[in-house]
Symmetry: C3
Subunit: 131 residues, 3 copies
């Protein structure tokens, strides 16, 4: 398992980490790559990397699907970050990508995105190659 | 890793691919089966296969949870398919099912569903057995 | 693959199963742990275990994101449990957690939660260590 670090810049921000993951895997042999976030207000997804507006649309949509103002009970240091937790779980804490001939078998338009949902913060990412 | 092909018929359509996945796994030994879609407007989920109306309810619900008309920024060839990307990530790009005595350890009511969210199209599905 | 059993108490209820999963893994060696639910109205997620109000917020949010009264078609024994199926898939049927030095590599605030979405019921949980 390798641990990577990244710094986010906005409250809600999707960041393309495909190259980071690819570099972490390197030449390691296996059948699939597990990418995992050890956080409760951040997630991972796989989606389009070609048009950066797709990531912006995700940020807007996640804030609307689980919005502020729903009478959340979890209050942290006077701050309502409860919807950040829900948004993180809607994306999920991990993605698992098959390896084909030693390469991530991503589709043409697919990139791996770290989903910051309560930033800005310094975050970790775990990369594990499965046998 | 095996690559399967399927053709979808509607814009939003859940298709039971359980038997396709089972056939691809065949007698291969391992601990779990990874099913993965290399697309950004399609996903995978596991849910009830007994009543086909459950799949229809998913189609309706995904179109309501991330609806048209939210002022999406990503426009492709004059077409607003941004919500298809969000719906795909809500379902996720992969499912991972344990193997028990060489069989998919699905529950009685569970089937594996390909989620077409921007069809009709010809689509791919990757099946990998993990050691 | 190990099968665990748990009993839920409410219609919608997140239950922290981290210790159950840890005990099932025991000293078994591997790279990652797959936790899987063989149900269609229950799911799994990873989120904050420190403040129990986060779990309560998830219960409320899932009931609002896929609410009653959307004209669901799937009716079971006179009961509209269609939204339970959608909520289950929004959380997902599995989580996959890397192992580091033989321990679940969970973040400080992370716990594994069983998501009951059509309880109370007796439920199963499968735990598999991947090589």
């Amino acid at each position: 398992m390798q641990e990577l670090t990244l710094t986010t810049e906005r409250h809600t921000q999707l960041i393309d980490v495909t190259q980071l993951v690819r570099d972490a895997v390197g030449q390691e042999a296996g059948t699939a790559v597990l990418v995992y976030v050890p956080h409760t207000t951040a997630g991972l997804t796989i989606n389009e990397h070609a048009d950066p507006l797709v990531a912006r649309d995700f940020e807007m949509a996640l804030e609307r699907i689980a919005p502020e103002g729903w009478g959340w009970q979890h209050i942290e240091e006077g701050e309502e970050n409860a919807p950040s937790h829900i948004r993180a779980s809607l994306m999920g804490p991990q993605v698992l990508i098959p390896l084909r001939d030693g390469e991530l078998a991503l589709g043409t338009w697919q990139g791996v995105f770290f989903c910051e949902l309560d930033g800005p913060r310094t975050r970790s990412l775990y990369v594990t190659v499965l046998a």
